[in-house]
């Protein structure tokens, strides 16, 4: 109909705000259910912190899927490797990490994080070249071979770091809580929220303000057309894969410090949440991934407090409800 009139004026919908409103909505729904306000505040901050960490780990995976339709079940390996590499750096630097000085703590944390991201990124590059490149466009083989890669990576971790769970204490500055009246807010959680927001802001800027970002967004929609315009989408994809793996490594460090333990199974455990998040968000959508992660974090904390036995089930229920409402996820990516 509208095609008959060139003057038919399309309107700018702006950003779809309904998914954004879900976060305060979930928080408000939980408010009357939770017996005290200080507990609600603590749980909300914990939920947001958990969400931010999941977002950091999941953001790369959603772009990898969006760009090349690659299902990478081995993404969890990058998370685990990141955590172990950071542990190897932090243990010899334990005196700095345990010192009651922000600068000493930073001097220990920064090299640990950089090493984790570098090794995870390099592993991502290796994975893309050796394991994923031969199976482009073949989903079943991707699932099988990346699952296999995950198992190999886990066993290699056993070889290098041993099978035992390793304790990884938080740096001194981030232990304990800020106390505001009756409200206790974990310092580490605040730090996680700050880092998560910084990563989201950086990704947002790269995606929306740079040419590479433009290529990534276009490639997620229609990679073939991007190639027809003269760009090598594979090169973009490798870059995204490496960056996504490095972010998984960063997320792994943060998650390990949050749990204060490192184990070879941690990546696998958190992958369930990550898959829920990228499905909720809409495969390929960074914004959707961000909101999905925060929702999952909040719901996990509220339900974990109110009915611990159904905590994991609650996230699957959340996914089911969102998919009933929006089958393509919160922010569906327009595909060819």
């Amino acid at each position: 109909m509208s095609a008959t009139k060139t003057s038919a004026a399309p309107r700018d919908p702006g950003i779809d705000k309904i998914p954004l409103a879900l976060i305060p909505l979930v928080a408000l729904v939980a408010l009357p259910l939770i017996p005290s306000l200080p507990t609600w505040v603590t749980l909300t901050v914990a939920g947001l912190a958990m969400g931010m960490m999941i977002f950091i780990m999941a953001s790369g995976l959603t772009l990898v899927f969006g760009l090349m339709d690659v299902m990478n079940f081995a993404h969890g390996a990058f998370i685990t490797i990141g955590a172990f590499v950071a542990t190897s750096v932090l243990i010899p630097l334990a005196r700095w990490s345990d010192a009651d000085s922000l600068w000493m703590n930073l001097a220990a944390m920064l090299p640990a994080i950089l090493a984790a991201m570098a090794v995870a990124g390099a592993l991502g590059w290796f994975f893309e070249r050796v394991i994923i490149k031969p199976v482009y466009g073949q989903h079943l083989k991707q699932i099988l071979i990346t699952m296999g890669g995950l198992i190999v990576a886990e066993q290699l971790i056993h070889v290098i770091w041993g099978p035992d769970i390793i304790a990884l204490p938080k740096p001194m500055t981030l232990r304990g809580s800020f106390i505001l009246g009756d409200i206790a807010i974990g310092k580490y959680r605040i730090a996680a929220v700050v880092v998560g927001l910084a990563v989201f802001a950086a990704m947002f800027l790269v995606l929306n303000r740079t040419r590479v970002g433009l290529l990534i967004r276009a490639g997620v929609e229609d990679g073939e057309m991007v190639e027809a315009l003269g760009y090598r989408i594979r090169r973009v994809f490798i870059g995204v894969f490496i960056a996504g793996s490095a972010l998984a490594g960063l997320g792994g460090v943060m998650w390990a410090l949050y749990q204060e333990t490192v184990s070879s199974a941690m990546g696998m455990q958190v992958m369930i949440l990550i898959f829920i998040v990228i499905i909720i968000g809409g495969l390929g959508s960074v914004g959707g991934c961000f909101i999905g992660a925060l929702l999952v974090g909040l719901v996990a904390n509220y339900v974990g407090f109110l009915a611990p036995k159904v905590a994991l089930g609650s996230n699957i229920l959340l996914m089911v409800l969102i998919l009933l409402w929006r089958p393509q996820g919160l922010y569906p990516v327009a595909k060819r």
Binding site: R211, L214, R217, E221, E224, E227, G230, A334
Partner: protein
């Protein structure tokens, strides 16, 4: 092959901008292009006509490297591009407008064009020239392209292919699904484009559109070229139209 018309083909093949020789393309188990021979001369519009399923879209996609030719040569601008990857083909100076338009719906009109201008910032005088025949693009410059109407999307798809000068444009059914008024608008826009020395190979089902713009014509059937010649000759010969396309212009109107 109508031998009476094979003369012009041979001439065009020498010094042509694009020449296909014995091009075969298989898609899965299907043998779609079964030895395509034709040439596109420098300058002017060549219309690639034929019934549904004749292989026209596959022909364009094979030139672009989106399907790999299993045999044959594709000479563009003096080089054999059969076997080259799509980005390399595009960078030789071929613009492509696919049948489904290939608009990036989540990107704004501005972003779609910025991406297409791969050699740097958009040339503003060229952009103003495009706005001259596609004013809707100026009006909806910052709007997500997914919100445009079908005709406006097609305008954006064509604008994207010409935002920088290209040696050859491959355009697949630009009138598909468009209302007659907009098709008229498209004809005007392409006439404007014709004043530049752009060479265009255009796949079309709409014979009136093809007749309005085409200089030469190639007709496909069952994966082969069955006729080449001047557009005017085909347009003036209802019997030939009936024979090649299964339609006569009068019946089509």
């Amino acid at each position: 092959m109508r031998h009476a018309h094979s003369g012009p083909l041979k001439q065009a093949g020498e010094g042509a901008l694009l020449a296909l020789t014995g091009v075969n393309t298989h898609i899965g188990h299907y043998h779609i292009l079964q030895g395509v021979d034709f040439a596109v001369a420098q300058g002017g519009f060549t219309m690639l006509l034929g019934r549904n399923g004749a292989g026209k879209t596959t022909c364009l996609r094979t030139i672009m490297g989106m399907w790999r030719a299993s045999a044959g040569r594709i000479i563009f601008d003096g080089a054999d591009i059969a076997g080259e990857e799509t980005p390399a083909v595009a960078r030789r100076g071929i613009g492509y407008v696919p049948e489904a338009m290939g608009i990036f719906a989540g990107l704004s009109v501005a972003e779609n064009l910025t991406l297409a201008a791969r050699d740097g910032p958009i040339d503003t005088s060229r952009l103003e020239w495009i706005f001259g025949f596609f004013p809707a693009l100026k009006k909806f410059w910052n709007l997500p392209a997914g919100n445009l109407s079908g005709g406006q999307k097609q305008m954006l798809a064509v604008a994207r292919a010409i935002i920088e000068p290209r040696k050859l444009l491959l355009i697949d059914e630009p009138t598909k699904g468009l209302a007659p008024a907009i098709i008229g608008h498209m004809i005007e826009a392409f006439r404007e484009l014709k004043r530049t020395d752009t060479t265009i190979l255009l796949v079309e089902q709409n014979f009136n559109f093809a007749r309005a713009l085409g200089d030469t014509v190639a007709v496909m059937d069952s994966g082969r070229i069955i006729h080449t010649g001047a557009m005017a000759d085909l347009a003036g010969d209802p019997g030939l139209q009936q024979q090649l396309l299964g339609l006569s212009l009068d019946a089509h109107q």
